[in-house]
Every structure is written in C-alpha cells, then in structure tokens.
C-alpha cells in the first residue's frame, strides 16, 4: 500500500514536472515575435493543391488524404513503411469463417477532438453514414471509395448502386466491440479500411455541422460547413484554418491518445508549380515536399538536401490495344515485349532505385507472382516473332502523353523515346501521337479504339491485387480492346474469395495468366522521391502515403 502511495507521489511529481516543462516551453512561444521558437515546432510541407474537402469520406485525392491523415484515424492503419494493414483505432479484429462477420476490438480511452468518446457506436454511426449517403453525396466525385469498395448504397437512384453494397449491418454489443456484417465476402475490406476515406469521424460533429447536407442543386453541389470548417477526428492534429489557395494549418491535439511528438503545428502551403516548390525548399520557406522531379533529385541532394524515397507502390506499363488487328496476334505482342530493353530504359529515364517490373502489381502487393512468364530483352527473337506473324514491316501507332508527370511516369516523353527507339531497332515503324494528358490523352486511350501502343500506369490505393489488375483487366475496355472471359472470370472469383490466403493463391494464378496472355508490358515500379531540408528527422515515408507527422522531428 505504502509502495503504491509512494509510487503515486513520485509519479504525480514526475507528471507535474513534465507538464510544467511543457507549459514553460509553450509559454516561451511568443506568437508575435515572428516565431523563431514557434518555427522550431512547425512542420511545413508543400501541397500541390487545396484539399478537395476536409471530410475524407467525400474525397479520393491524395492532397485531401494527406491533410486528413493528420486529423483522422481509421479502424485500420498500415505497418509503417509498408502497405500492409495494422491495428489503429481497432486493436485487433476477427473474421468469421464464412468471411461475413468482422469483429473489431476498439482501442480504449480515445476521444474525438470535440471530446465525443470514440466507441463502437461511433463506428456504427460512420458505417451507417457511408452506406446511407443519398443523392449527390453518392456521386463518384464525392464518395468514390465507399461506392467502389462496398459496391453500392442502402438505396440509390442509380440501379447499379441501389442496395447492391456488401455492407449489411453494424452492431455494438459493448462499448469497445463493433461487429460489421457483410452480405457477401469482401476480403479486401480490412486493407481498404486503411484509406482515409474510411476514417472515424465524430458523430456529434457530423450531426452538428450537417456533414451530409450536400446542398445546392444537382448541377451545383455545395459541401456543408463540416467539410470546410469543422473536420473532427481522433488524430494527433486538430484543424486550425484553411485559406483556400493559400494554406491549411493544423495544430497538435493536446489530448491525443498516442505519442504526440515534437511537432506542434503543421502547415500545408499550396504551391502548384513544381519549380516553385523546389525554390521554396531551397529558400528555407518549407521543410519538404513530394513528387520531386527526377532531374531535381540529384541537384537537391548535391546541395545537401535530404532525399527520401517512398517504396514503389505503382506500375508503369506499355499498353497494347488488341482492337488493332496486328496487336491481337500474341506473337506480335511477344515480339514487342522482347524488343523493349527495360533495364536500359529504367536506368536512363526513371529515378534511382526503380525496379524493373515483371507483374502488373508491385512486389509488395499480395498475389505478386515471381514465377510469371518473363520477356527478356532479345531483339533477334523479336524479329523472328514478327516474321512468324508475317508482319516484318509493321507500322504501329504509339500514343503518349505530354506535359504531365505522374508518380509512375515522371517523364513520359523520355520513356516514349526509349521504347520507340527499341521498336524501330527490330524493324517496327512507330507513328507517334503525342497528346496533352487531360482530357485528350485519357479520352483517346480509355474512350476510343483509335490507338495502338500507349503508356499508362497506376498507383495503388491500398494493399489489394484487384486494385491493380482488377482496375486494368476486370472487364472489356477500350484501353485494351480484348475480350477474355476466362481472365475476367478468374479476376472476379479471386476478388470474392472468402479469405485473404485463398485470395492470394488465386491472384498469383491470375498474374501468371495475365503475363501469359500479355495484354501489355509492365515496365517498372518507379520510386517516388520526397525532398527535405537537412534538419528534418524521421519522416515516415510510406508506399501508400500513410504519413503522419507526429513522428517527425526537426533538429535545429
């Protein structure tokens, strides 16, 4: 007993010390002095555009998610540095044998920024909210991920979305247990729940600020104030202000359940021009930015800036549209695959650390198969295959995008030049069609049959194979111009396999099947780079951009 009291006294004294330490530190901050002391704890990361919304359930873009990840947390997070799901607001979960019932055990002692307790009822409130979005709130520009992952809403004007969702119900048997019941298996659910779109939001705040009241007419939806001024989550940072076009400011959550860390303020200045971002870093106005151009990486590193790479969670590929009769011949597709010198292309045009691809999924994704058919660089074999197909003097259209830089394709023009040179080498005449990325290029590739070869790619949303190959080859499309029911079926049955293990095996088969069928040539998994000033420590680079700044520190 005495021991206990003693420990209590010592503990209280220690706590008091820590608190007074914090207090004096805070007290030392003079907001009017232009902030040398404030600057020590402010982390400034350049964003390339405004968030689309501060309510992550109404967004699907990276800039929104970047901000949302600081303020919100979902049931599931990711293992740091990977795309694999990890406990976050749910400490653990169990999936029933039939794959229909998910029991989440929730973390204790968590409150939302408005002091609403986080509990099983809050979980159910959020699931019910997503499932009961109505009207305009169901459109893809708002609730894209719920529509995609769940496959429908409780009710919808759109027949394809009307009651077609997999989510059935949510129950809260006790404060810290939430049970989600599905109407059919969805093994990707746990991975998907790591998306900011499925963050837990405060039921009180959602109701108070009318989060679902997307007003205006169908032509002109206006987001409610919840999504512009009152985002309320459980994360380490709370919303301070958003000046559209200028910056978003967050401040440390004093009641955060986890490690708060050194950063007391996070600022996202909005700088859309890539060169302007680089100069802002060089001038010391920002601490870091991402999507650093490959050309800037070396120069910045030489000047002493830190370059941090995210693990590649993407794929760049050369698409071959089989609506073009010659490309419908597997031998021609094989010839093209053998003609492209991927190693040389990667070395010459993509950032250092980029891996050459053999699958249409990056290696860290479940279902990646390292035993798929590969097509090594072999120009002689390519010429033979073309001769066998009887098209030794093949002329082919090659469409590629201009004025765009995607994480999987920082310099499309350069990639095009390498591939075109390789093809010319084996006797294929390339007719180039450069087009501006949006909307011309995407329209041409995805909307019409009028293209032969093209460059495109994808960055994954979460660790799920369907999110790559399903997006590409889930059904007939103008991009690829083929009908392969066997492949489509294999993909849809893999998607609904009841367990992740069964699913993984099925996806490995699918990946082998794809590389046998060869609808395109996976080229590379380029590494996206971030740049920071030298004093920034422990930036938690994540392949799926699950980067929360409470672990960042700044050394002065």
């Amino acid at each position: 007993m005495r021991q206990g009291i003693k420990a209590g006294v010592v503990g209280a004294a220690g706590l008091a010390l820590v608190l007074s330490g914090c207090a004096s530190q805070r007290g030392g901050e003079d907001p009017t002095d232009g902030g040398t002391s404030a600057a020590e704890q402010t982390f400034t990361f350049a964003a390339s555009s405004d968030p689309a919304s501060l309510d992550p359930a109404f967004a699907s873009d990276g800039e929104t998610f970047r901000v949302a990840r600081q303020m919100f947390e979902g049931l599931v997070g990711t293992v740091p540095g990977t795309a694999d799901p990890a406990p976050l607001l749910a400490e653990e979960w169990e999936v029933s044998d039939d794959g229909l019932e998910y029991t989440f055990s929730l973390r204790e002692g968590v409150t939302f920024h408005d002091d609403t307790p986080f509990n099983a009822e809050a979980v159910c409130f959020n699931f019910e909210r997503w499932n009961n979005f109505e009207g305009i709130a169901q459109s893809e520009s708002l609730s894209y991920y719920w529509g995609k992952v769940n496959g429908g809403f409780a009710s919808s004007e759109n027949a394809a979305m009307d009651g077609t969702g997999k989510y059935s119900s949510c129950e809260a048997p006790d404060e810290l247990t939430a049970v989600i019941t599905l109407s059919s298996p969805l093994p990707e659910l746990v991975s998907a729940l790591s998306l900011p779109a499925f963050s837990m939001q405060s039921p009180t705040a959602l109701q108070e600020y009318g989060a679902d009241d997307v007003t205006g007419s169908a032509e002109a939806p206006v987001l409610p104030t919840y999504a512009t001024e009152h985002p309320t989550g459980t994360g380490p940072f709370v919303f301070t202000s958003w000046s559209p076009g200028e910056q978003v400011v967050l401040s440390a959550n004093p009641d955060y359940w986890g490690e708060q860390g050194q950063i007391t303020e996070v600022v996202f200045p909005i700088i859309s021009d890539p060169t302007a971002r680089r100069q802002a870093l060089e001038a010391g106005e920002i601490d870091g930015y991402d999507l650093v151009g490959p050309a800037d990486v070396e120069a910045l590193a030489a000047d002493g800036f830190q370059i941090v790479d995210r693990d590649a969670f993407n794929v760049l590929y050369l698409g071959m549209n089989q609506a073009i009769p010659e490309l419908a011949d597997i031998r021609v597709r094989q010839a093209i695959a053998h003609a492209v010198d991927k190693e040389a292309l990667v070395a010459a045009t993509l950032p250092e650390g980029t891996e050459v691809a053999t699958n249409f999924v990056p290696p860290s994704v479940l279902g990646y198969n390292d035993e798929v058919t590969t097509y090594d660089y072999d120009p002689d074999l390519a010429r033979d295959l073309l001769a066998q197909a009887g098209v030794s003097d093949l002329t082919i259209n090659f469409t590629y995008p201009t004025d765009v830089s995607r994480p999987y394709m920082p310099t499309p023009e350069q990639v095009f030049e390498r591939v075109a040179a390789d093809l010319e080498e084996v006797g294929i005449t390339v007719e180039s069609t450069p087009l501006p990325w949006s909307p011309d290029y995407l329209d041409r590739i995805q909307g019409g049959a009028d293209h032969g070869l093209h460059l495109l790619g994808w960055t994954g949303d979460y660790n799920d194979t369907y999110n790559f190959v399903g997006v590409f080859f889930g059904g007939p499309s103008s991009e690829w111009g083929f009908d392969n029911p066997e492949l489509f079926d294999a993909l849809s049955s893999a998607r609904v396999a009841p367990t992740v293990e069964e699913q993984t095996a099925l996806y490995e088969d699918v990946n082998a099947q794809i590389m046998e069928f060869l609808p395109g040539v996976p080229i590379a998994h380029p590494v996206p780079s971030l740049a920071f000033r030298p004093e920034v420590r422990d930036y938690p680079a994540s392949p799926v951009q699950d980067e929360v700044y409470n672990v960042v520190s700044i050394e002065e």
Partner: protein, 334 residues
C-alpha cells in the same frame, strides 16, 4: 462628362451579353470535359456520364446557356467543379490578393517607367537614353516566367532577401479587414505584418510590372521627346518661360495624354500577366486560380472569372477615358 459615363456604362450591357455567348461556346468547344480531370485516370464511362448528368453538361446547349445566363443575372455564377465552392466566393476571397499585387506592379511600372522615360528624353541621345532603350527592350522580350524564376533564384534562394512563394509568413497572426495585407498592417498598426506582406510582394510585383514598365518607359520617352520639339514649347521657351515651370506645365501635361492611355491598357496586361506570375510565386490570387481552373477544365470558374475580369477591364478603360478629360479639357467638349 456624366453623359459620357452613362453612355459608356450602357454600352457595357450588350458587350457583356456577347461576351457571355462567346465564353459559353468557347468552354464547351474545349475538347473533352471536366470529368476526367476530376475523376482521374481510371474513370469509367459510366462515372463520367454520371458526373456530366450531375453538372448538367448532358443537356441541350440552348438550355444550358439559358440556365447559365439566368443564374448569372441573379448573381449566381455557379459552383467550382474543382473546389466545390461558389465561384463568386472564390473570386471574392482571391481578388484582394490580385488587386494588391496589381497595384504594386503598376506603381512600380509607372513610377520607374515615367522617371526613366522622362530622364531619357531629357538626355536624348546620351548614355542614359541608350540604357533606357536597352531596359525597355529587355523588359518586353524576357518571358515573365523566366524573369520570375531568375528573380527568385537570385534574391530569395541565394541572397534570402525576399520570399519565393505566398503572401505572408507562417506564425504571423495578422488581422485582416480589406484583404490587402500591406494596407491591413498599416490600418491596424501591425507594422511587422505590413512589412512582411510587402517583402512577399516585391519580387512578384517586379516580375509582373516589368513589361508595363518597359512599355511606359518607351511611351514616356517618345512622347516627351515629341512635345519638347513641338512649336508651342519652343514658343513658350522663347517667351521666357522658366524651365522648371515649362517642364511641369507644358511639356509634362501634353506628353501625359498618350502615356495615360498606355497605362490604362497595361491594366489589362497586368490581369493576364497575373496568371503566370501568381502561379510561379504560388500567390493565392485569381490568376493562379484561373490557371488551375484551366488545367482542370473548371467551366463555371472560367466563365465567371473571365466575365468579371472583363467588367473590371471595361471599367478601367472608362476611367482612362474620364482621366483624359481631366488632363486635357479639349476632350471634355467632345
């Protein structure tokens, strides 16, 4: 004078009507649509169709135009597709930034341009004159974005005197009334804030003001040279008018007329130049917003912003015409 103003204002109505038709047709003639820009590279045809339905882009053109015009007349410019905020709100929140930048750029261009042009004309044919010609040539030939990057590289990145982006520094909790940050700082007595905002404005204002500076320099120089050689000036001089008085009253007043026209025309140039300058300096005004809206095919913003800018431009031109009357009484009679 009043009649002139009323007549000119009345002319604005048909002009705007014509412009609204042109704008409406123009944005709809752009290839593709906003859907892809909004939905990303994996948008399905169904979702694109859905988005077009939601925003009304699938209706017949005349119907779309009528909706658009009737909304506009009631002051409703629609909602930005990209930011989902009302266009008019977006404009209002960004306009002060552009206004402030434009004022600084114009002051820079007018003060330096007039001085340089005048001095060059007074020393016609000498070194100063040649230098002014070189400056004005460089000013119109160096692309704005190049100049902007060079200014930033030298004075912000290397020397650290100014800022590369934004309107004010972090951690500066300034109070804002007008949205013109320098003025706000002066009004509230927050001198730190005013100075900070000014330091943010210097480089973008120079980048934006350089072309107008070059044009004003040339115009002032040519105009002053011409007036200096005019008969009435010679007569005045011969009659013994003292030289300072002569310069101020006779030469300057007469030389100003074409210069004022030039300055008026520069306002339009400044508004279009702001698109590039603001983008390069991440300056949160209407210019950078227009740029982002163009890349995203954000129709409502393009239509609304360009129309409002056109009105401003027309009003500025009216102001220029009125100022003729002030400078040259003969104009009032016409």
């Amino acid at each position: 004078m009043t009649r002139l103003i009323v007549r000119r204002l009345a002319l604005l109505v048909p002009t705007l009507f014509g412009l609204s038709i042109l704008l409406f047709l123009w944005v709809r003639a752009l290839p593709g649509g906003p859907a892809v820009a909004l939905l990303g590279e994996r948008a399905t045809p169904e979702s694109i169709a859905e988005l077009n339905r939601v925003y009304g882009f699938d209706r017949p053109l005349p119907e779309q135009y009528l909706t658009y015009v009737s909304r506009m007349i009631s002051g409703d410019f629609g909602v930005s597709i990209r930011t989902r905020r009302p266009v008019i709100e977006e404009f209002a929140s960004r306009f002060p930034a552009t206004l402030e930048l434009t004022i600084f750029a114009l002051v820079f261009a007018v003060v330096i341009g007039l001085a340089l042009g005048y001095v060059a004309a007074r020393h016609h044919g000498k070194v100063v004159d040649h230098a002014s010609v070189v400056v004005s040539l460089l000013g119109v030939t160096v692309p704005v974005f190049f100049l902007a990057f060079m200014l930033k590289y030298v004075f912000a990145v290397q020397l650290g005197w100014f800022y590369t982006t934004g309107r004010q520094s972090q951690g500066l909790d300034a109070t804002h009334y007008t949205g013109l940050y320098v003025l706000d700082g002066v009004i509230t007595g927050e001198w730190d804030a005013a100075w900070d905002a000014f330091m943010h404005l210097v480089l973008p204002a120079i980048a934006l003001g350089t072309i107008p500076l070059a044009i004003i320099t040339r115009m002032t120089r040519a105009s002053v040279i011409e007036v200096q050689g005019a008969d009435y000036v010679r007569t005045a001089r011969a009659k013994g008018l003292r030289s300072t008085r002569l310069r101020n009253r006779v030469v300057l007043r007469n030389a100003m007329l074409p210069v004022v026209t030039t300055i008026g025309l520069q306002v339009g140039l400044l508004l279009s130049g702001a698109v590039l300058t603001e983008t390069v300096f991440a300056f949160p005004g209407i210019g950078s917003f227009l740029y982002e809206s163009i890349t995203a095919s954000d129709y409502p913003v393009l239509q609304g912003f360009i129309l409002v800018i056109a009105v401003i431009y027309a009003l500025v031109n009216l102001a220029v015409d009125v100022s003729y009357g002030v400078i040259d009484p003969r104009m009032r009679a016409r």
